[in-house]
Structures are given as C-alpha cells and as structure tokens.
C-alpha cells in the first residue's frame, strides 16, 4: 500500500507536468549518455527577428500555452521568453560601434538550457535538473521556493511566483498545469510537445521564421548545418555554462 501511495503521488506530480522525462524520451534518455540520443537546441536569426520590432507573438504563444500569468505589479513579473536590450542580453559584447539596428534593438531571451547549468547544481531538493536530451526541467511539486537557482542563473531566466498566479490568467490552457505561489518556473523547451514531434510553441508562432529548433547530436540536422556555415554567438560563454541557444548576428 505504502509503495502504491508513494508511486501514485510521484506519478501525480510528474503527470501534472505533462509527461515524465523517462516516458517522453525512452530511447533519448539513455541514448544520449552513449552519445546517441537527441540534444535539443535553439537558433535565433536576430536579423529576421528584428524585422518586426514590436512583434511579441512568440512570447504570447508561449505564455498562453504554459499558463504564464500577467501580473499587475512589475516586481512580481513571471516570464518565460521576452525581449531584452542587446547590451543587457550580451553584456560581454563591447557594442559601441556595432550596427545600430542591432544594438538599439531588443533580443529574444529565455532559458539557455545550458549544458552545464549552474542553477541545477545549487538546487537543494533536485527540483530542477538537466535531462539527457539537454532540457533543463523543473518539478513544481518539489520546489521549496528557496530561490537559490534564481541567484545562480547568470541569464535572469528564472521567475518566482511571489503571489498566487492563478487569478492573473486570462485564459487557462487546460492541457498544461498552472502553478502555485512560492515556486520557481521558467522555459522548459516545450518538453510537453517534444514527444509529439512538435516544435516549441514560440518557434511555431514565429511568422518571420527567425527561430529554429533542432538536434545538436545529429550532424545532419538543419541547426548543425546553419551553425557550420554561419557565425553564431551565445550569451556569456565565458562562464562555462555552455548555453544551447545560439544567436545569428
């Protein structure tokens, strides 16, 4: 009985997240260790993205799909994907004489799903971890809300629920869990869509086709092809976190 209740709770917790990591990627999870599974990454063509300066379709789609609330107080803001000034997204880049189109514009930022994530290292309850396919995951049922991961993330990608987010959802997407107050959340690379072989919601919503999602482990993938032929940068590579979001400049 005990074991039954325990596994029920466990499954309920993971079930609420969509699908358990192991179930979603039965081959991928093990395969990646042997070098065979996928390793998800994203590529952003900043020039294409900047064509529509006011466009926020990706963020809207993401926040709608994942029940990210719109909070009245900016201090309590929760966001998974948003636009940030070039200098702030890339503080290491001395941008004085760059093309103004670039430096005066806003860059799309979200969780980098680092290969060596500093956030998962500090979590005292293993409520956030890196999957073998590269997705940095969150367990909102285990998180104690200590915000150590927020302090450790060099990209400001993590949000904390300072108040109950549920009253601040215009529409609730029933297929995705809502969160409670007092837990940390962030982009999960749409892990709920990956087993269905669907691209992340932001990629799908981008009309300019400025975002590309792909498998770095596959040398023949489109994303690898672009990375081979064009110059891409990552945010703050000097910290050794190995971000998996690439920016074409």
């Amino acid at each position: 009985m005990k074991a039954g209740r325990r596994s029920f709770l466990k499954n309920a917790g993971l079930g609420a997240l969509g699908l358990a990591a192991s179930k979603a990627f039965p081959a991928g999870a093990e395969g990646a260790k042997a070098g065979g599974g996928p390793r998800w990454a994203m590529l952003i063509d900043t020039r294409k993205c900047l064509e529509e300066k006011e466009c926020a379709k990706c963020a809207e789609a993401c926040h709608e799909a994942h029940n990210v609330p719109t909070l009245p107080n900016p201090r309590h803001e929760v966001k998974w994907i948003w636009k940030e000034n070039f200098r702030e997204a890339f503080p290491d880049q001395e941008a004085e004489y760059f093309d103004e189109v670039l430096t005066s514009s806003k860059m799309l930022v979200f969780c980098n799903h680092c290969d060596k994530p500093p956030c998962t290292r500090v979590c005292p309850t293993q409520a956030t971890w890196r999957r073998a396919d590269g997705v940095v995951m969150m367990d909102w049922h285990r998180c104690i809300g200590c915000r150590y991961c927020v302090a450790a993330c060099p990209y400001g990608s993590r949000s904390f629920n300072w108040i109950d987010p549920r009253p601040h959802l215009a529409n609730v997407t029933p297929t995705y869990p809502t969160r409670t107050r007092g837990v940390v959340e962030k982009c999960t690379f749409c892990e709920e869509r990956l087993p269905e072989h669907r691209s992340p919601a932001c990629v799908e919503a981008c009309e300019a086709k400025a975002m590309m999602f792909g498998d770095l482990a596959d040398p023949t993938s489109e994303i690898r092809e672009v990375l081979r032929t064009r110059f891409a940068v990552r945010r703050r590579p000097g910290l050794g976190t190995h971000p998996e979001i690439f920016y074409l400049v």
């Binding site: 929760v78 005292p124 309850t125 300072w162 007092g182």
Partner: protein, 385 residues
C-alpha cells in the same frame, strides 16, 4: 534545570511578556505572508533575496563567534573566560535558532522545507548549510547542558565532553565558511564571487559577536549579581579589536581588487553601495554610516586608554555591532542582485510585514537568551548559597 526558567521576579516576567507580544505581532504578519506569498515583502524578480537572508547571514556569524570564548578557555586554558563560555554557547544556540527561522520564513513553500532532508543533495551548498547549522545547534545544546549540569552539581564536567567541545571549535568556523560558500560559488554574481568572502565573514563575525557578548555581559551585570570581573571583558575587547581591524582590512582588499581592475560588472556593485547606481542610492547613506562607525570603533578600540574605559568600550562595541550589521544585514545580500546579471537596477527595501516578521524572530532569539541566561545564573546562585 529547566524548571529554573519558571522562577523569576516581576521584571523577568514583564520582559518575557513584552517579547511574547512582539513575537505575536511577527507571527500575525507571518500568517499573512503564508496566505498571500512572499509578494508582501519588498523582494522582486530581480532582487530575490533580501532582509531575511541577510539577517540569517549576519546571525550565522553571531553563532560562530561563540568560539572566541570557547577556544581560549579550552585550548589555551585561559581561565578568565570560565564564567563566559556558557554565555557564548547560549548566545550561539539563540543565534542558530534565529538563523533557522529566517531561512524558514524566506521559503516560498515552507510546508515542503523537509524536502531538503527527503532528497539530500550534497552538490548543493544549502544542504551543507543545513547539516552544519543543525550540527552546531546540537553540539552547543549538548555542551552547555552537560557543563552547566556539572557546575550545578559542583563537580568537574565528564571527560567525554572535552573532545566534543574541541570539535565545536572547527565546527563554528565551518558554519560561517559554508554560509559564505552559498554566495561565493555563484558565477552569476560577481559581487559575491570572491575568495575573501569566507575570511571576511569570519573576521566580521568575530568582531560583532564578541562585541555583542561584551554588551550583554555588562547589561546582565547591571541587572543581576553576575560579575565576571574586568579581565575577561578586556580580553574580549582585544579580540574585537583584532577581528574588526582584520575585517576593515579585508573590506579594503575587496575595494582595491574590484575598483583597480576596473571590470565594469565588479565596479557597478561597489558604485551601488557607496555612491549609487543609475540614480538608485538606497544603501548609500547606510553604507557611509557603516564606514563612519567602523572608523570610530577602530579609533576607540586601538587606543588602549579608550578600550580600557568601560564607557568608551560600550560605544566602541555598539559601533562595531551596527557597522557590521549594516554591512552584512543590509548591504551584502541585496548588492549581489543590483545590478542584476542583465544590468537592471531594481530598488529593494523591506516592507512593514517583512520588518515585523524579522523583529519577531529577533524577539524569539531574545526570549531564548533571556531564559537560558536566567537558568545559568540561577544555577550559579545556588552555588553561591
């Protein structure tokens, strides 16, 4: 022995009642926070740790500082601290309890806090902080109980406690070192990522803790018949002098490295502290107050004449305590978040509920200290009779 806590005069009970009232106010506001969430604090998306975590950090130092009376007495056989060790240990117990409460009230999901034990994670420094703090609490409860019990019976403490007391010395160092590691291992926060953070924490702790102990000893000497004599207080004052000098020295090391290297992300934090950043000067008046108090304290402490006089020593100890409290209890934690890794400057100031909860926790500490000191002095009263 605990029954001695129940016997006291009117002022004893009046003081306890006052503290209980303050605790009740804190508890009221905590229930509000529990219902609404941490949104009722001044914290925000960019400044995610604030007053609670800063008080925790400061108090870990106070707890660790008990070692400054324990070490001379047990390792160097410095007899003059004989009457003081129990006060140091009780102060440590109260401080650790306050630390744990400050961590607890900072949790977004306090009901899940035992997950830290259910899913022990050695790669997280927070796990080690829990281990070292709770271990330190157990050590001090055990040591103070055994030694005080022996004193009550008029016998020497059992010999098995000696190695445990010796163990408590490196353990005290460890609690503040691990607390510093919570911060100094984060590449995202250049202000904290300095190897000198742990030594600086220890130096400031060994100044602020003994300064508090001197002040409390003088206070209970006024209120009771307890009198440790002049020598231990003067010796503690020397310890405060050395530690405070070291602390100021280490702060200057930080400033030199940060400012002379002129790396913008390092300089920005010091700007925020001492001159303000992007018009935000929240901490500037406080930090300069801390500087002035530190200079005042050093002048009064380094001069043997003013250190030797009780009145000026009191001023010096108050200056040390508040200078370090501002530095650690206000400046150190928040500045790690300002500017944020993305360069944003967000102002933070604790709200009324946040302050009321914090004052409530300090009142819990005061209550614990009052009761424990009362017990210790009652036991000693028995011996005198």
């Amino acid at each position: 022995m605990l029954e001695k806590a129940l016997v006291g005069n009117r002022s004893y009970w009046g003081w306890l009642a006052l503290l209980a009232g303050i605790i009740a106010v804190g508890a009221f506001f905590y229930l509000r926070q529990f219902a609404v969430g941490l949104g009722i604090t001044g914290l925000s998306r960019d400044v995610t740790w604030g007053f609670y975590i800063a008080q925790f950090t400061f108090l870990v130092g106070v707890a660790a500082s008990a070692v400054m009376v324990v070490l001379p007495y047990y390792l160097h056989n410095y007899k003059a601290f004989g009457k003081m060790t129990i006060l140091g240990e009780f102060l440590a117990i109260a401080a650790v309890i306050m630390c744990m409460l400050f961590i607890f009230v900072d949790m977004g999901q306090p009901t899940r806090v035992l997950n830290v034990i259910l899913y022990p994670t050695p790669k997280s420094l927070m796990f080690w902080d829990m281990v070292s703090l709770s271990g330190y609490l157990v050590l001090n409860v055990l040591i103070s109980h055994v030694t005080l019990d022996a004193e009550r019976k008029g016998i020497a403490p059992p010999s098995w406690i000696k190695p445990i007391i010796i163990l408590s010395i490196p353990w005290a160092i460890s609690i503040h070192t691990v607390t510093a590691f919570l911060y100094s291992g984060l590449a995202a926060r250049p202000f904290w990522m300095t190897a000198v953070l742990a030594p600086r924490f220890l130096a400031s702790a060994f100044a602020a803790g003994p300064a508090l102990l001197i002040l409390m000893t003088l206070l209970i000497r006024r209120l009771t018949r307890f009198d440790p004599g002049r020598e231990p207080l003067q010796r503690l004052a020397v310890i405060v002098t050395y530690a405070m000098t070291m602390n100021v020295f280490l702060i200057l090391m930080e400033l030199f490295t940060g400012l002379y290297s002129a790396i913008p992300e390092h300089v920005a934090h010091f700007k925020f502290l001492y001159v303000g950043l992007e018009g935000n000067t929240t901490l500037v008046p406080w930090m300069w107050t801390s500087v002035v108090l530190a200079v005042l304290a050093l002048v009064l402490l380094l001069n043997p004449h003013t250190r030797g006089k009780e009145k000026t020593l009191i001023v010096a100890c108050l200056a040390v305590f508040f200078s370090i409290w501002i530095d650690k209890g206000l400046g150190m934690v928040v500045t790690g978040f300002v500017p944020s890794p993305l360069g944003h400057v967000t102002s933070y100031w604790p709200t009324l509920p946040e302050v009321a909860i914090s004052v409530g926790i300090y009142a819990v500490g005061a209550l614990v200290i009052t009761i424990f000191y009362h017990i210790a002095l009652s036991v000693r009263g028995e011996i005198a009779h």
